[in-house]
Symmetry: C2
Subunit: 336 residues, 2 copies
């Protein structure tokens, strides 16, 4: 009997409906974020797009909202943006006002989140700006190609292309790679692909609640469904995005669902998640696989945080803590 059929013979757990008060155990800023998420309307499965045209309309609305955050972020975390291309891939080089000359030999590459569908273009730089601010390093924010027009392997190809170009002039060990959600998954896929290609690896990784299992098997997809205020349900958003991104390659390919990859030889990694995060299990499973493979890894779990909330609740001390931990991890592990 394989694992799947064994599980079918086992007893499922019934959990009653519940009301989650905004906890007093987090900062007032994070409380406000949690409350706002609770008050937001929720998508149902039948509201998810099912054609390329419907996806584009869906994406246009979401991305315009995300892009509207950019000037607010810029006022709090001042920086300059240099829109350019690297190896034919659109990137935005973020140089923070906090740039630390002592770290001039190092650089970070960021892959934004958004389920390989959302947060392209002007919407792509939120996490990169925060990472640049707290690290005092330049961040190359990669506007990789996405579904529905460019499903897998376009994103991985773009990631590899940027990596090769950056490391043509920069020691690989001095380059840190970070990303949240799909950006965390893509960071993992990049390293798996670099291993296949026999190329040098980044000096360190910061994986923010990485989307590592697009099959939906992680336990937190069930436990934290509708608990998470941002990625509220795998059955609606997650499954639709996984299908449109994976296409015929299927969601069990390790370059699509990197939980199935081999983590031997991976660079040091810090994994960040929250107790309400629907990808809590993806995060702890990735972390555990790394530890089992002998990788230097650190796990950070934030009280009552939903998926990627440290990006959106950027005024909260918890967000600052998350990014300071990431910055310190890069300081400790990047060469140069």
């Amino acid at each position: 009997m394989d694992d799947a059929s064994a599980a079918q013979a086992l007893t499922a757990r019934q959990v009653p409906a519940k009301t989650l008060k905004v906890p007093v155990t987090v900062s007032p800023e994070l409380q406000r974020s949690i409350s706002n998420l609770a008050a937001a309307p929720r998508l149902s499965a039948d509201q998810m797009p099912s054609t390329p045209e419907a996806w584009k309309a869906f994406v246009a609305v979401a991305d315009s909202q995300a892009a509207a955050l950019a000037p607010i972020l810029a006022s709090i975390f001042p920086h300059t943006v240099n829109l350019t291309t690297i190896a034919g891939v659109t990137v935005r080089e973020i140089t923070p006002a906090s740039l630390d000359p002592a770290k001039a030999g190092k650089v970070l590459i960021n892959f934004h989140g958004g389920g390989y569908v959302l947060n392209g273009g002007e919407a792509s730089t939120g996490e990169a700006v925060l990472g640049a601010h707290y690290s005092g390093m330049k961040v190359i924010s990669v506007d990789y190609r996405m579904a529905p027009d460019h499903p897998y392997p376009a994103a991985v190809e773009d990631a590899v292309a940027v990596w090769k170009a950056v490391t043509a002039t920069q020691a690989p060990g001095s380059v840190g790679v970070f990303g949240t959600s799909a950006g965390g998954g893509l960071s993992l896929a990049l390293v798996l692909k670099l291993k296949q290609l026999g190329l040098a690896l980044p000096g360190a990784l910061a994986l923010g609640t990485p989307w590592a299992d697009l099959t939906g098997a992680s336990d937190s997809y069930a436990v934290n469904a509708e608990v998470d205020g941002i990625f509220t349900s795998f059955d609606t958003m997650g499954q639709a995005m996984a299908a449109v991104y994976a296409g015929p390659a299927g969601v069990t390919d390790p370059l699509i669902s990197p939980i199935f990859g081999d983590y031997a030889g991976f660079p040091p990694a810090i994994v960040t998640t929250g107790t309400r995060d629907i990808l809590l299990s993806d995060s702890v499973r990735v972390y555990r696989k790394m530890r089992d493979a002998g990788v230097t890894a650190r796990l950070e779990v934030h009280e009552a945080m939903s998926h990627a909330e440290y990006i959106y609740a950027f005024d909260s001390p918890e967000s600052a803590t998350a990014f300071r931990d990431i910055a310190a991890f890069f300081d400790a592990h990047l060469q140069g």
Copy 2:
């Protein structure tokens, strides 16, 4: 407006009832444990004891079940038990068959879990046996006094008495302290008390899903209520045990709810929990307080594990991993 009244003005989150299948993302052994917990009857609040006599009857049944595990554990994890007293406190010295002569200069002290009410006497050694087996070290399992006959501060007094006696002949830095649930909380309370007394601290701590907030404010008390298969609800078991243990001292005393303590100067600590753990938030909040205080700390979160399940699912590879991580942490940080 203080935090509590601010929270009242915020929007609570509604989460529908759900069915949690046994996940395929864990070992068959842990799947079996999760299934067994799902099939077990659940206590309601009106089944909790409210008088000392009712508590004793409740405890007698639970402890006889826990004690029945001892011979099974002994067959898998062979060891000898020396029942004795240290400073007038009943202890059981566990010497594992795996005793490593290279670690003869080190010793571990274990405080069992059970909400400061359960797991006294013959029921007290489960975690100690596993810790001894995986570490190859002798473990002093402390059968500290408990409620209802001996509420706070009896447990803390016993912990301090044993600590003083052990460190009269043993370098404090060569002694590791570990415990789960109330035993994790008591480990924290011991160190807070030792700081007050100006005494030397242990070389390292291993805190298994520590019961650190007896006020019930942790977010996971709500999120993981009825999700956790072992500590299923704070409102039933937790609140009743907190009340009978704390007594007139009240649950906000840092020696009772160590989340309110000052962690400056704490020894290195490893914190172990699971994604279904009702004390997930207690665990991550303790870990975060330690990191904010500059303490060397490591967080381990296991997929789909309920509260303390690594003790009860002792045949699972996840349990072995949890205890091997703890043993490695003691190896890295204990002197001698």
